[in-house]
Amino acid sequence: MPSGSPPAGHEGHPSVPLSPTPSNRKMCSLALFPPPPPPGDVTLYEFNNALVSGRSYEKLPLTFQGQMEDLPTLTIPKENLKAFSRLEYSTKPAFIHHRESLWKRCIRAWRDIGVAGVLEELANAEEEQDLDQGMNEQSWVESSKELVLQWMKSGSRCALALCCWISSLHGSFFPHLSLPSEDIIAKFSQAVDWAGCSIRAFAWHPHTNKFAVALLDDSIRVYNTNSTTIPILKHRLQRNVALMAWKPLCASILAVACHSCVLVWHLDPTSLSTRPSSGCAQVLSHPGHSPITSLAWAPSGGLLLSASPVDTAMLVWDVSTENCIQLQWFGGGGVTYLAWSPDGSKVLAATPSAVFRVWEVQMWTYEKWPTIKGPCRTGCWSPDGSRLLFTVQGESVIYSLSFLEYSGEQQRQVGGSKTASIVADLSETTFETLYGEERIGGEVQSMVWDPSGERLAVVLQGNSDASNFKTTIAVFRTRNNPVFELLPCGFLQGEDGAQPQLVTFHPCFKKGALLTVCWSTGRISHIPFFFVTAQFPSLSPGQSPLVPVGSWSHTREQPLFSEL
């Protein structure tokens, strides 16, 4: 029996499970979930509305084997990856130090870095001049030179100090700006442990059984079910990969959000080469736009959005011509997360401060929503683009925001509702199982909605100081028509000691939904959810034809909406 701290607001829920009629029940909570599978068990698949778990990653039952193509389940342990070795980013230290005159060094710094480099060079010009002074006898030319140099030195020092002060002032408004860029990425990445886990990013191709995995050593591997070659992508500029995205309506173009640029790999799908040359990659960079943490392709193919938590402008790239347009706004301080709605009409852009925006893509206007507690952490769109689910840092609830039905070009506005409603409470809940008590719940790290709009997977990050707390994946059944509903489905569990790192739904799985989970052990597993997509709004997913009425299932044993 679920117990613990039931949140306020669901006491009045009707106890009828899966009631098809809309009621005043709005919220779903973790307390309604079935208890997690026993330790050591691994969630294998969902069938007949119940999650089935087994002792290990065994084969699926024969009835399902034909239904799933051979998706590679693989493990990439951290130990096998070559250590990250490139700490120096320029070739300068590799050469023997050579003494040049100050002016030459200034000119070079100007070319390499700009004004800041010249100031730096001037401010550090001290020790060499002391040497010079020792060698040369004083003449008036020398002394005047000395004086000018002193002035310039103090002037450049003042300028640098002023710059530092201003940037620290700026940083005090937006604390994330003072972090090193790796920490910025780790903070805003959708991955649970971006810095430490061997898998940093994962992306399914939108149309085929192909996926790309970005690893800790900055390489990317592309797996394809139909071919045995596994291209490994490496590029000089491919560092700190935060996100990858395949171009829709295209065979094989992969955009990679790197430290300083967006790399767009053009892979030949028929090629047998395992190491595509770096000539296959387009480099899209823009000054001041780094590190890039989020990317989004327009579902209709042409445009690519990129955003950085440091840059207040998000860039709209026309990838084929490498031109970009800045979408500037003031306030908010950067963009941390982008999500393009599947129907292509709206884009969610979250900022590091307590406000997020939703853009409408026809005229590129936005509406903004201030949140109370903190910045928007993650968000996902319903398939028709009419509903946005999002979570906020510091709160363990899921909000829902509904939008007007998108109808033609008369509507050149976003059309969001005034306020967001809370649809699920994910606060900490204790489950008492046969094997001891387990505490599950907390802030949401990332959230994905499957393309048919019937399953929602949420990664809940545990509190690190609690002992028996762990990061878990909670799966909801969702329904968008005629009224939005969120029903519990269950918790997913990996092998012992494996924490979920990334979750993604397969974009074109025919038999229901297929969730791909990257675990902290480096394992990538695919968990199918077999159900029949509700063609008609009246048919709830729970009553799909797969389920013989009255048949045995876990969900029926567990009263879903118990009053305790």
Binding site: T208, L249, S252, P269, G302, L303, T321, E322, S407
Partner: protein
Amino acid sequence: MGDVSTREQLSILRWRAAASIAWSVLLLPLCVAVFISISSIDLFHPVQWITNSFNDLYTSYVIFCILLLSGVILVINIFNVQFHAVVPSIHCSRLALISKIIHPQQVIHSVAHAVMGMLVAWCAAVMTKGKFLFLSMPCTATESVPDANRHTCLNEYHLFLLLLGAFMGYSYSLRYLVKNLNYLPFPAIQQYKYLRFRRSLPLLAKHSCVESLYMVRNFCAAYYFFGYIPRAWIMTTMNLRADSHLPLLDTVAGLLDLSLLYHSWLCGLFLLMTWYIAWLLFRIFSTEAHHFPVQPTFAEEADQCLPKILNSNPPPLLKFLALQDLMFLSQYSSVRRQEVFSLSQPGGHPYNWTSICGECLNLLSDLTHKLIIQQEIAAANGRLKQPSVGDLTQSFSSPAPEESSFQTPRTSIFPRAHMHSLVKSSLLPLKTSPASDLGSNLGSPFNTSLLGHKPGLLELNSPWHGSVQSPHIMRRGPKLWTSSSDLQLTGYPDEPHPVMVVAKDAKEAAQPGSFYIWLQNKKEQVLPQIKDYIYLHDFFFFQIKNFLSKRVLIMYFFSKHPEASIQELFSDTQMHIWALEGLSHLVAASFTEDRYGVVQTTLPAILNVLLTLQEVIDKHFKLPHVSSKPPKTSGNLADTSYKTLRFALRSSVKTAIYRITTTFGEHLNAVQVSSEHKKRLQQFLEFKE
């Protein structure tokens, strides 16, 4: 052009131009205020400075200046409107550029801009006040000249500013031509006009500052060397004297006057800013998306309907707007898509769809032809040879409207027919040699008595008979004319096309032709084999090329940059990109929205055109000289997006095909296309392209 487009159609463009002019005039007082306050900047007395500049704004001469400047802006705007182009003109060689510069139209443009620049500089000088105010001023008192006899002296500072204005106006006009500032680029995403203006303003300001700096530098250099000429002329005509107490400005000391340099820079900045703002506003207003109705609600609106505009021959800007609107409606508006798929009320014909689809397919297949011809030439010469393409496309695009609306037969011929044409044409004469008495034939190319009445010749030409309209045959005409002389001519006594083509290319072929005839007459008995003639012919061209390339100067002017000719080929491709996107979105939407099945009937034709185009574009990017990656563009004010249009086209063709294949999926197997295309479609279905 004007006879087809009606007044209603043109009024769309007229209103946009008028609005942009009105806004640029309205923004003028603001620019003047900023200019006055900056020119009289005084950091030590800020309050006085601000009050003074405010007071200055209301003085009568500033108001007069504003009126005068409004006139200037109006003229500049009229030039902008008159010279605008949606298809940039790309200068393939330096000679073409020079001929553009001395073209009367451009000369008028330059002179008018120089005069306008002078007027702006005069206004700037008047508003700056101080030592710049008048052209003449009383000479500073010298002890030698008595008061009664005081002469007026020339104020060289004023003259300097006026000449600077003229110089800047002329430079602006030249830059307008060279950098294609008249080109109207359509933005990749739509934004409101105010936002677009605000987004471009910082770039505009930065660019104007830098450009003004460079122009002042250039002008100083010019004035240093040639400044004495206008000064002497003014002094003699107006009977002015030089002030002996002030340094002359064509000396280093005179030019190193900081206040002069600052005010000249500011004057240049003011000129460039006001003109660029007018230019920017016109660009923003005229490229804004326009909403064309698909079906007329009233009879008088019939001319403004999308299908009507697409099918008529309106001003290019209007056609671009219509195609852009087609792209938007196909992507965003289900209501208007319904209108496209609807049937006409009495009769039930899908007129809207037929005309829209027909026009898009026409555009795309025209592009296909253009590319095929270009590839043909590139394959023949090993390098691009541009100017003949324009002639040829005109020559064969004229019969196009008479053909069936979707041109399936015509396009399906090309891919197979145009390959190895070089091989074929060089092999052919060898085949013919035993069949007829070539010796006498070759000697007299226009010998009418021989015209085509030889059965052997007709037989030879018969393999081509079915595909006369194919452009590569026409292209082959002149090739045969120069290599194996009149075989082609004699083969077609009653076919008009080859004759026409030969006439078109006469100027190209005339010289080598006559030389060749002479050569043949000489060598008739000695060299009976045509192979040798061909060899000689090639040798001759090689000699000429060699001869010319030694003259560096000639090559400098005549050499064509391969990149430029490719850019020219794709200069109007924005149109094709929109047609592709509009068509593919409509087809994809028809899967669920087309209730009467009007799209199904044309689906084979659409797939055929798209796949052929895709193939041809793929082939184009494999040609030598064709880079496969877009060049790096810096943040420049002049939009260079036309340089990269071909890359956009390449990706949008693929996206368009994928859009159709992902929507229809396996259903496409039921569509009737040729087996070759079926194979390619299967590759697209498997995401292997």
